[in-house]
Amino acid sequence: MTTLLSKAPDDPTRPDAVIARGPDMTDRMNHLVRDELLHRSVYTDQELFDLEMQRVFGGTWVFLAHESEIPEAGDYVRRQMGKRQILIVRTEHGEIKGLINRCTHRGTTLVPGEAGCAKRFVCPYHGWAFDLDGRIANLPVPDSYDKLYERPFDLGQVAIGERAGFIFGTLAADPIPVDDWLGAAGPWLDLHVARYPKGKMKVQRRKVVQEFAGNWKMSWDNAADGIHATFAHASYNTLGKSADTDTVLARNPAATPMVSKTLGHGHCVVDQRPGIPDGPWSTMRPLPTRDDLEESLREKGHEAKEMFDLMTGDMINLSIFPNLIFVGNQIMVPEPVAPDRTKVNFYLSMAPEAEEEVDLMRLRVDEDFLSFGTPDDFEMFERVQEGLRVDEEEWIDISRGAGAGDVVDEDGLVTGTVASEAPMRAYLAEWKRLMSKPIPTKVRRARLEDSRFMQIIKKRQMKKEKTS
């Protein structure tokens, strides 16, 4: 009987095998994603979707969690990475691990809930126990295995990278460093966090989850689509006007100084600040508790615009491909469910080191857009998905801005007007790159040498063999 570790290094059944799955899609990708044209099946095809779950949500860095969500040892949150459940865990040594929520015995998910604090993870099915760092800690009746110590039953893991408290993971066998991958988006991420007093951002425990009957990339097309705000969100702007407020979305799209910038690897940013001379807080309509909280801040002597601005977003819509979108005080994480179904997770970020009024206000601010803005976005996504059902209308023109306002810098990054579709072309270029070729992936796993339990088993079995 051949145990796993005695297998040839290139045996694909080895648990540490590096495998590049799926077909070469280069030709098909070249057909589907062109300079100016995009094929409808990119949004509708089940086969492409399944491949996305491997290559886009697995073959590159994916946002998983924020470190403020797991402040203490043993804290964990469960997150989705494509179709995989990942536990983001803080170990006893303060390290952050990305454990695949799948018992190495038969595959049971170890953790059934969204978040918690654990000393170890014990599988309910047959009682196997794993340490916070994924190493197998114990399994009942170990003698029932031949050469147990050669079986790598430690939990599978994903590679973890961090920037500014944001935790990313990937299964790529040889990923580029997170900082390189973020590239020009990195400083924008730093900037996002820098405005929080003492640089401390905290992700609040309760997320809102809503879904729409459309492809996940709809939210991506939308993220840096500056011009839709005027039309799709017309009713939001009307509400603003009725309260004598110019919402940030109510600009004239032909005249606004706001710009969108592509940042490489599909990332992009829409910087709305140029269009808002009076700062973010000036764009906000009356809100529940707003009068009281402003009064309280003023009573405490706060008059500076910065303190008030901190109550809402920084007006920089940063989007890190494929699943991290900053809007207002919220972190939007699209979660693909099917070619025509997507969940969106709305996490709320807080400023724990600011006056309490700030967080009290932040709790209420984004409920506004969720009530009057997000529904219109979702309505658009679903109606686009409906429109894309026409087999004979195969192509979508995505040229807007190209040769008509877009400015390309020496690195190939593009600055455009709010009408430019450069961000869309940019993320699709990255999508195409990822989708074209099988990506070598690897499940990380503790090595046998690291497992105290396995060492004990090994010694015991050796001794037994000697005595027998």
Binding site: S235, L239, T289, D292, S296, K300, E367, S371, T374
Partner: protein, 192 residues
């Protein structure tokens, strides 16, 4: 369930906490309250029934006439949430409630018009208690929403507080518990 903030509070911020705590208190009270009062039940049930019925009829003017100026409307994501600690799906004051109504008639509110939603709010057995300064009532509720795409059906519970107003009542707050929010729902821009 009272949240204590970390520093001395101003009167203004205390007002916010007080309102929030009151909302949570009502919710907590109705969870384990003993038997409701049959006379009060009979008196209050028509109010809850009418509130639901008028909303379904889109008779928003009449509906708003049932609301106190202090009206608050809370739809927490999870029944254990606190408005001072957790983002909600909705936490409205009277002003934002009237904005919702305005919004429902904006022809550019793409997600909630053309066609207008057809809704049913199915109120079940109503229970009410006299809590001294106010009346607290609760009923299970199912909401149906029919417009574009698949119908949405949500089962939950509503908790209302009311004050007497002449021969009638004014609604001072409403909390809507929808357990399915803990998983995922379509957008609920039509809920009020």
């Amino acid at each position: 369930m009272t949240v204590t903030a970390f520093s001395e509070k101003t009167a203004a911020v205390q007002r916010v906490y007080d309102r929030y705590d009151a909302m949570v208190r009502r919710l907590t009270f109705t969870r384990t309250a003993s038997l409701s009062e049959r006379e009060l039940n009979a008196e209050i049930a028509p109010v809850l029934a009418a509130e639901a019925r008028l909303l379904d009829a889109r008779a928003f003017e009449q509906w708003q006439a049932m609301l106190s100026d202090e009206m608050q409307f809370w739809v927490p994501v999870h029944p254990d949430d606190h408005p001072a600690k957790d983002q909600a799906l909705i936490y409205d004051d009277r002003r934002r409630l009237s904005e919702r109504v305005t919004h429902f008639f904006d022809p550019q509110a793409w997600a909630v018009v053309a066609p207008d939603p057809l809704t049913i709010r199915q109120i079940g057995a109503v229970e009410a208690w006299d809590a001294g300064t106010e009346i607290v009532a609760t009923a299970p509720i199912e909401l149906l929403h029919v417009r574009r795409g698949a119908p949405v059906k949500l089962v939950g519970r509503e908790i209302l507080s009311l004050e007497r107003n002449g021969a009638g009542f004014l609604i001072t707050s409403k909390t809507l518990i929808l357990p399915e929010l803990a998983l995922s729902t379509p957008h609920l821009g039509w809920i009020i």
